[in-house]
């Protein structure tokens, strides 16, 4: 209708909104509060989740490939149809190498979904210094490769990460417990071997318990300490898309004989907690949206009743039903858009306040929250669309008004 689409609707809608100043202000602030809650919660939860993930995945591989468990092989298969009564005791699992690990590692390196591959020899033993003895988790790695899996160099708190033969990197708490400083020597003892190493760096792996146990040595040192010359007990992988780890693990499981575990399987509880968090965030967002829609709708319903006469006179003067319908839809959209803009600003202020005032014990922000532009735009769009949706029922009742009756009242 006419050359300027919505020219009439937009102008009259804005005037109607300006005229009902208090009502408009209240509902715009209401929408803004809703939008702010949605945007802030989204930013907070995604910040929290990525921080949790970073902390969890910072100290462990996305996928690990290990040698299969030792199984008891029956001496002879029973005759078909024979009834066998027996009890098989499970085997104790010894440390053993992943067969053919060099070839497997080379294959894995060529996989497009895998970012880094690091062979490892791990086992347990004791760390000794003077009178002190601590249980240790011994990790034998190639420093550069392992760094790409867990970012070891960034976790160094003292010294400089270096792993020449006869050198070791140990956890911060272990150093405290044993009274070791960078450059000091330390004895590592396993079932068969005792070897002395020099500490080149202390690391903070993010978990106190890990810091108390972890000793990282060159691959060859660990091989000799654990009696696995030329072997590797596992291959650690880091993948390009963290969330694809599980499906990638399933794919690898079909190809390789080893035991393949993704971080999701290792941290099943964390994953289900994250999922529960996502679901409850979605629920909160849904409820807030419904409240926003109801708020806009109720204000517009009242406005239609208040403006019956004016709608009647507009219809008498030649406004079509479509124009009256759009007049109220536009009001819903304007309220939604204004509220969104204000709400996004409010969310940004909340995020600033959170970053400024909520701090961890170390005085640093607990975790980084940001409101990505895409999220802001998405939330604003959804709220504006909701404004239009909320306006549908009142707009229809306005369009359906009988002009003769509306004027008479």
């Amino acid at each position: 209708m006419g050359s300027h689409w919505l020219g009439f609707e937009l102008r009259v809608a804005l005037r109607f909104l300006l005229e009902g100043r208090k009502q408009t202000l209240l509902i715009v602030v209401g929408v803004a509060a809703g939008v702010a809650v949605i945007a802030y919660i989204s930013a907070l939860i995604s910040g929290l989740q990525s921080s949790t993930l970073n902390k969890t995945l910072g100290a462990q591989p996305h996928i690990s490939v290990r040698a299969p468990d030792d199984l008891v092989q029956p001496a002879a298969l029973a005759e078909p149809g024979a009834v066998v009564s027996g009890d098989t005791q499970p085997r104790a699992q010894r440390i053993r190498t992943l067969a053919n690990w060099q070839a497997i590692a080379a294959l894995l390196e060529r996989h497009p979904g895998i970012a880094a591959v690091s062979p490892m020899v791990s086992g347990s033993g004791l760390a000794l210094r003077g009178e002190a003895t601590l249980a240790m988790a011994l990790l034998g790695v190639d420093l550069d490769r392992y760094d790409r899996i867990v970012g070891l160099r960034s976790k160094v708190v003292a010294g400089k990460a270096r792993l020449q033969p006869g050198e070791a990197i140990i956890g911060r708490e272990m150093a405290t417990d044993l009274g070791v400083r960078v450059g000091d020597r330390l004895s590592l003892q396993t079932a068969t071997v005792l070897e002395s190493v020099r500490v080149t760096a202390l690391v903070d792996l993010g978990v106190r318990d890990l810091n108390r146990r972890t000793v990282i040595v060159p691959l060859r040192t660990a091989q000799s300490l654990l009696g696995l010359p030329g072997g590797a007990t596992s291959i650690d992988l880091s993948v390009k898309d963290v969330w694809a780890a599980q499906s990638l693990a399933a794919e690898l499981r079909a190809q390789f004989p080893g035991k393949v575990e993704s971080w999701q399987e290792t941290n099943a509880q964390l994953v289900s907690a994250l999922n529960a968090q996502s679901v409850s965030t979605a629920l909160i967002r849904g409820v807030v949206l419904v409240v926003v829609v109801l708020g806009i709708a109720s204000v517009l319903v009242v406005s239609v009743v208040q403006k019956r006469r004016e709608i009647g006179i507009l219809r008498a003067m030649g406004a079509t039903r479509g124009q009256v319908l759009r007049l109220f839809l536009v009001q819903g959209a304007v309220v939604g858009a204004l509220g969104s803009a204000l709400g996004i600003l409010l969310a940004m202020a909340l995020i600033k306040a959170f970053t400024a005032f909520v701090r961890g014990s170390d005085g640093l922000p607990l975790f980084a929250i940001t409101l990505p532009m895409s999220t802001a735009v998405q939330v604003a769009l959804v709220a504006t669309v909701c404004g239009v949706l909320a306006a549908i029922a009142p707009a229809r009742s306005a369009a359906a008004l009988d002009p003769a009756q509306a004027i008479r009242i």
């Binding site: 050359s3 009259v12 109607f16 006179i313 003067m317 030649g318 079509t320 039903r321």
Partner: protein, 246 residues
């Protein structure tokens, strides 16, 4: 058929401005409260007529005016507006006819309070085109000047007296230059002085612009100053006569 004669012989040109035949209007049809307010009414109005519609309350004046104004459907009968049969048209078509053919002035002026006098007058143009062209803006200013409101153009209705508001409403009714203006008690809410002023404006616009007016009124003084009086009693035309002015 000779094409050259179309302009003068077309039905719109020769037919009366409006012709109602055997119009009946029943409210609450089929319910216990069913009431027929117009009982087979006939009425014709020619171009350039200045007609008053009078009658006691409940005689069906407003209903008739709403039917003429395409705001209400009749229950039975026929209605030709400018030679075109309109009683069977749908809402969208009626809306378009209202916009182009009719101007309305109501007892309670019905201006939009959020718009200035000038904006109120240009609303029908905004509605038709989505914007107010320079032509309509100028016409609105001329109309407001013609009803003596050149100094009040930018005032809101709330800042104007009742008589001034009604004059704004008259200017608004004329902005699209309709051939017919319907006025329902245009002075019913005004004191005698304002009432005379508004009526004079209507008469002057009629004389200058050749627009037809149908004015519903209770005021016998005003009715006597129209060119023709149609009196309704109980939903029928009881009197229909021309008035000779001295």
């Amino acid at each position: 058929m000779v094409m050259a004669s179309v302009a003068t012989d077309s039905p719109a040109a020769v037919a009366p401005l409006l012709a109602l035949r055997d119009v009946r209007k029943t409210y609450n049809l089929g319910q216990p409260s069913e009431t027929e307010v117009l009982h087979g009414l006939d009425l014709q109005v020619q171009r350039r007529e200045f007609v008053s519609l009078i009658g006691p309350s409940g005689s069906g004046k407003s209903t008739l005016l709403n039917i003429i104004g395409l705001l209400e459907h009749m229950t039975s009968g026929t209605y030709a507006l400018q030679g075109e049969s309109v009683h069977a048209l749908d809402d969208a078509a009626l809306t378009l006819r209202r916009r182009l053919t009719l101007g309305f002035v109501f007892q309670f002026h019905h201006l939009l309070p959020a718009f200035s006098a000038l904006e109120n007058v240009t609303l029908p143009a905004l509605m038709a085109q989505g914007k107010v062209s320079a032509m309509y803006l100028q016409r609105a200013k001329d109309l407001l000047a013609a009803v003596g409101l050149e100094k009040a153009m930018n005032k809101r209705p709330g800042q104007l007296s009742g008589g001034m508001q009604q004059r704004v409403a008259i200017a608004r009714a004329l902005i699209m230059e309709p051939p017919l203006v319907l006025a329902d008690e245009p002075t019913g809410n005004l004191d005698t002085a304002s009432s005379d002023e508004v009526f004079l404006q209507l008469r002057r616009l009629h004389a200058e612009r050749g627009i037809s007016f149908i004015i519903v009124t209770h005021d016998p003084r005003l009715a006597a100053r129209c060119d023709r009086v149609v009196e309704l009693i109980d939903g029928r035309v009881a009197r229909d006569e021309a008035i000779a002015h001295v």
